[in-house]
Every structure is written in structure tokens, then in C-alpha cells.
């Protein structure tokens, strides 16, 4: 592939910065767990987790510096995961809409 020649070298400081952000995210998760936010509990927890996962994929897995095709493949995979989650929730959230009989 043409992009091989221009291998991007990431400065160490970026890795330390991302690592710090991930640790902060972990701390935040722990701290928020001590507060009851009702229905927002899951939303906030999952938002932090998704943000952390995105950081890992972009920086630690070098997707930010990779060809567009790599990003496309990852977006495709995440989209397929969303299909699974949305269509499954399509069942769970509508259980009491209608009943047989």
C-alpha cells in the first residue's frame, strides 16, 4: 500500500496524555458510581466507556494515522454492532406495548 512509506511516528507525550485521560475516565466512572442518577446512570457510564474506547482505537491502535479504508472498516463493524443492539432493544423496550389475546 502507498501509505506504508509515510509511517507516522507518534510522540511519546501523546501516549502519556491519552493514558492520563483514560485514567481520569476510570476515576470519573468510580466517582459517579457513588451518586445515584436514576435513569441517567447507564447513559453516563456508557458514554464515558465509549469515549475511552474511541481514544484507544484512535491513538493506541493508530487508526487516526491510518488510511481511510481502515477507518471505514471500523465504522462498518461498529455500525453492525449497532444493528445488533438497536434491533435487540427494539424487542426489550416494546415488551408491554401489545399483548397476545
Amino acid at each position: 500500500m502507498a501509505d506504508h512509506s509515510q509511517h507516522h511516528i507518534v510522540p511519546k507525550s501523546t501516549y502519556y496524555l491519552i493514558f492520563t485521560a483514560l485514567m481520569l475516565g476510570t476515576g470519573l466512572t468510580w466517582w459517579i458510581a457513588t451518586i445515584d442518577l436514576g435513569a441517567m446512570n447507564n447513559v453516563i457510564m456508557l458514554s464515558i466507556a465509549v469515549t475511552k474506547a474511541t481514544l484507544v482505537i484512535l491513538f493506541f491502535m493508530h487508526v487516526k494515522y491510518s488510511p481511510k479504508l481502515t477507518g471505514t472498516v471500523i465504522i462498518g463493524a461498529v455500525f453492525w454492532l449497532l444493528i445488533m443492539l438497536v434491533m435487540t432493544m427494539n424487542d426489550y423496550f416494546t415488551r408491554d406495548w401489545l399483548h397476545f389475546g
Binding site: M84, M87, D91, W97, L98
Partner: protein, 540 residues
């Protein structure tokens, strides 16, 4: 077919190294395909042996041959062996492996070592699952439904599940290999819309394997985790949800049906074009129908759960989507028939299998619409109607396509012809035996006979005896090719490079091809299936 005296090429992939090592450590996609051929045929035999036991037991209403518990083990292992170790790998791993590089004008797949690794992963996976047969069997059904599989079953669930988990990686890596190969290894001039439809079908199949199989792998790990550590994932007694398992399982396992049928459809497209000597009618529609089936196929899994407590609204959505997925399948069938229309169809063995495929797949597909209708499904689900339906699709469709493909490319693979009359007879025997076996199951299922029981009321006996009798005819049909194909290896007429007069790059090289497939890299300047315009009334 010309019967002029043609000679085998002096060197080809079959005589390039004759030691066992040269086969077991080969990186040649054609040899790996043959390794799969041997292994997959073996697992077909194992699965078939279990089918024989099932049909023998069901010849009489009383549960006299097998105890209920052993019957559970027998039909489970029939399903596991046939689905995971025969139907899913059969066409892609054997014919896909052999043909994709040849059809796109490449020397091999993109990752030859990965290809060999896939074979050994498949092999190791099969060992674990086979081990479960001798260490208590498996009685969960091939679907591993929870909480039975995780808390109640006393059979060897973990080794069987581990084997299927391992085997999954074989499919993922094969799919990955095909995708990269089709993107990067096409010969100069081989544009996407000059690709044979067999390649399009495998591209779609590979997408499903790469996107779907990891979900099955994870789900099976969760089953094992719940079984070993008592997690409350699927067991309602400790807060789990059994329906969640069904969502995860069918997210993969419905698309898995398309892993079985799409490659077979790809074969049919090739065979129809070659037998009718015409371009496939609506080439782009057929190509995109494969992709459409692969994508929409991921949105329909809830039709397996109409009676398992899924919400009525969700069932409605899944029902509608299931109807929609029938459209691209129908597009293909109509386009094949339109291809044959006014073509000069030659009735050699492959065409007999094509006719069988279309007949059986049409019935299998249409009864799928019965089952996609929620109201009718409530009556028919878990009866023999379901069993008949999926055998028409998976056996009538996939195996007809697979055998048609084996007969069509056998001269390319081995360099020799089989007896064409025996080939045609085998296709007819299989077609008759198949219908005799499975059509009565539609009736007995409609009348209310549930699946997965070793005993049944006496009024169902006639239909069951018909089915068991049909199974023995079917067995003869499946055994026949084994003998005449084996015979042809030594005594068959030398085939020549292109015995069927077909177009396609695989026919532009010797039979059998050299290890590097082509002496020089081909340059493609023609469209797919560019057959000369047929002369009116001309018989080939």
C-alpha cells in the same frame, strides 16, 4: 464435448510434490481446497450417520431404537456436524478456495499461509466437537438454547461449544482472505463488473462471515462461562434472560443460512450461464442481490423468536423484514430462468443439478414466507414443517449447488471427466429421494407433529415411513458421485482445458492448472460471460 485425444499437462498442481508433507504443509489454495474436500466429506458422512439413526428411529411410532435421551444426542450431533462442519465450510472452503484466484486471474489468495492456518483451525475445532460425542454427547440441539444448555443439560456442552468457537475463526479468516483477495489481487482489466457472479457471491458471504461469526463466538463463550462459573447471563433463576441468548445466537445463525446458500447461488449463476451459453440476465442485479441478501439477512433474526416471548411489535418488524429478504432471492431465481430462455441449454450433469436446485430452493424459499407470517408461524413453529423448510433450503439448495459445482469443475480440478450418464442419474436420484424424504415432513408438521421427539402418535406413521424410505433413496444418490468420481480419478477420460466450452479465466488455463495458475498473468479485455450470440436452432 470433444472426444479428441488430449493429453494431461506434464506438470500441474497435483504432481508438483507427491509427499504427504507437500500436501499437509502446502500453501497452494488448490491443494488446501482438496484438504477441505476430504475433511468436509468426512464430516458429511458423520452427520449422515446420525441422520440414518434418526430416520430408523422414526420409522415406527414407538421410541424403540434409541432412548429419548440418546435421541436428543443423535439429532443434536446431526445438526452440529452438518451445520458447522459441513454446510458452512463446504462451498467457500472447497470451491471458493479453489476457484476465486483462478477466476480473478491471481496466483493464489492474498494470504496463503493464513489459508492453511484456517484449515488447521477447522481441524482442531472439529476434534473438540468430536470429543464431545465420546464424552457424554451433546443434547442441547445445535442451537444451544439456554437455560437448558447452561444449567440443566448433563451432556458435554463445553467441549462441543469450544470446538464451534475455534472453528468460527477458520470461517472468519477465510472470509477475510477472500475479501482482501478480491479487492487487491484481480488481474489487469478484471473490473468489479467483469467478476464472475461466483466471486460476487463469495464476497457477500465473506462479509457475513467476518461481521457475524464473532458474535456467535462471544455468545458461545458466554454460554460456557455461565455453565462453568454460574454467571447470571441467561439463567432467569439468577437474574439472566434466556431470550437474550436467542437474540445473540440468531444474530449470527440466521445470516449463517446465507453463508450456506449464497455461495451455492454463485455456483448456479456460473452453471446456468455455461449451460445456456448466454450472459446471465441482469448481471448487476444478480451481483447486488448477493450483497442485498447479505445486508438484509442481518435484520431478520427475530423470526426465530415469534413464540419465545419477543414483543409483538418487534415480531412485526422482523416479520416484514423477513418478507423483504425474499425479494433479492427471487430476483436471482427469475434471472436464472430468464437466462435460460432462448439459450441453447445443454443438458449435461451440471444442468441437472441446476434444475434440482431451482426446484428445491423455490419450495424452501416459499415455505419460508409461510413461516415469516406471524400467525401461521405460531401454528407451524417447532413442528416438522420447520424441519422440512430448512432442509429444502440448506440441503436441497446448498448441497444441490455444491454437487453441481463439483461436477462442473471436476474436470478442472482433476483433469478428468466422470461418466456423464451416472452424473445425471445421481442428480435425478437425489432430487426424487430428497422430495420423498422431506415433502411428507411438511404435511406431518402441518398436522401437528413436533420436531425433536423420538416417539409419535400412530396416525403419523405412514408419512414418517415415506420419509425414512426417501432417506434411503437419498443416501444412494449421495453415495453414487463418491464412487464414479473416485473411479474417474484413474480411469476417466482426459478432460482437456475446457470440456464444457465455458468462458471464464479458470477455463483459460490447463486442467489441472499449474501451481501458479497461469503461465503468464492474464489481461482481461472482455465482459463476464461473453458467449458468442447463439445461432437459431443450433445445437451444441
Amino acid at each position: 464435448m470433444s472426444s479428441s485425444t488430449v493429453a494431461m499437462p506434464p506438470t500441474h498442481y497435483l504432481n508438483n510434490g507427491l509427499t504427504l508433507k507437500s500436501w499437509l504443509f502446502t500453501k497452494d489454495h488448490k491443494r488446501i481446497a482438496l484438504l477441505y474436500l476430504v475433511a468436509v466429506t468426512f464430516f458429511f458422512m458423520v452427520g449422515a450417520a446420525f441422520a440414518v439413526a434418526i430416520r430408523l428411529e422414526l420409522a415406527t411410532p414407538a421410541g424403540d431404537l434409541l432412548s429419548d435421551e440418546n435421541y436428543n444426542r443423535v439429532f443434536t450431533m446431526h445438526g452440529v456436524m452438518m451445520v458447522f462442519f459441513f454446510l458452512i465450510p463446504a462451498v467457500p472452503a472447497i470451491l471458493g478456495n479453489f476457484l476465486i484466484p483462478l477466476q480473478i486471474g491471481a496466483k493464489d489468495l492474498a494470504f496463503p499461509k493464513l489459508n492453511l492456518l484456517s484449515f488447521y483451525i477447522y481441524f482442531v475445532g472439529s476434534l473438540f466437537t468430536m470429543y464431545s460425542i465420546v464424552s457424554g454427547g451433546l443434547d442441547t440441539g445445535w442451537t444451544f438454547y439456554t437455560p437448558f444448555s447452561t444449567v440443566a443439560s448433563t451432556s458435554a456442552v463445553v467441549p462441543a461449544a469450544l470446538g464451534i468457537f475455534i472453528n468460527g475463526f477458520s470461517g472468519i479468516l477465510t472470509g477475510l482472505n477472500f475479501i482482501v483477495t478480491i479487492h487487491k489481487m484481480r488481474a489487469p482489466g478484471m473490473t468489479w463488473f467483469r467478476l464472475p457472479l461466483f466471486v460476487w457471491a463469495h464476497y457477500a458471504t465473506s462479509l457475513i462471515q467476518v461481521l457475524g461469526t464473532p458474535v456467535l463466538a462471544i455468545t458461545i463463550v458466554l454460554v460456557a462461562a455461565e455453565r462453568i462459573f454460574g454467571f447470571g447471563l441467561f439463567n432467569p433463576a439468577v437474574g439472566g434472560d434466556p431470550v437474550l441468548f436467542q437474540h445473540l445466537f440468531w444474530f449470527y445463525s440466521h445470516p449463517a443460512v446465507y453463508i450456506m446458500i449464497l455461495p451455492a447461488m454463485g455456483i448456479i449463476s456460473e452453471l446456468v450461464a455455461a449451460s445456456a451459453r448466454k450472459q446471465v440476465f441482469g448481471y448487476t442485479f444478480v451481483a447486488f442481490a448477493s450483497i442485498g441478501i447479505a445486508v438484509i439477512g442481518f435484520l431478520v433474526w427475530g423470526h426465530h423468536m415469534f413464540v419465545s416471548g419477543e414483543s409483538v411489535y418487534a415480531a412485526l418488524v422482523f416479520s416484514v423484514l423477513s418478507f423483504i429478504v425474499a425479494v433479492p432471492s427471487a430476483v436471482k431465481v427469475f434471472n436464472w430462468i430468464a437466462t435460460m430462455y432462448r439459450g441453447s441449454v445443454s443438458w449435461e450433469t451440471p444442468m441437472f443439478y441446476v434444475a434440482g436446485f431451482i426446484g428445491l430452493f423455490a419450495i424452501g424459499g416459499l415455505t419460508g414466507l409461510f413461516l415469516a407470517s406471524m400467525g401461521l408461524d405460531v401454528h407451524l413453529t417447532d413442528t416438522y414443517f420447520i424441519v422440512a423448510h430448512f432442509h429444502y433450503v440448506m440441503v436441497g439448495g446448498t448441497i444441490m449447488g455444491y454437487l453441481g459445482g463439483i461436477h462442473f469443475w471436476w474436470p478442472k480440478i482433476t483433469g478428468r471427466m466422470y461418466n456423464d450418464l451416472l452424473g445425471r442419474v445421481s442428480a435425478v436420484v437425489i432430487f426424487v429421494g430428497f422430495n420423498l424424504t422431506f415433502f411428507p415432513q411438511f404435511v406431518v408438521g402441518y398436522l401437528g407433529m413436533p420436531r425433536r421427539y423420538h416417539a409419535y402418535p400412530e396416525e403419523f406413521q405412514v408419512l414418517n415411513v415415506l420419509s425414512s424410505a426417501g432417506a434411503s433413496v437419498l443416501a444412494v444418490g449421495y453415495l453414487m458421485p463418491l464412487f464414479y468420481l473416485a473411479y474417474s480419478l484413474k480411469y476417466g477420460e482426459i478432460a482437456g482445458d475446457n470440456p464444457f466450452g465455458a468462458v471464464g479465466l479458470e477455463w483459460n488455463t490447463t486442467s489441472p492448472p499449474p501451481t501458479e495458475n497461469f503461465k503468464t498473468t492474464p489481461v482481461v479485455t472482455w465482459e463476464a460471460y461473453e458467449y458468442p450470440t447463439p445461432v437459431e436452432g443450433h445445437v451444441v
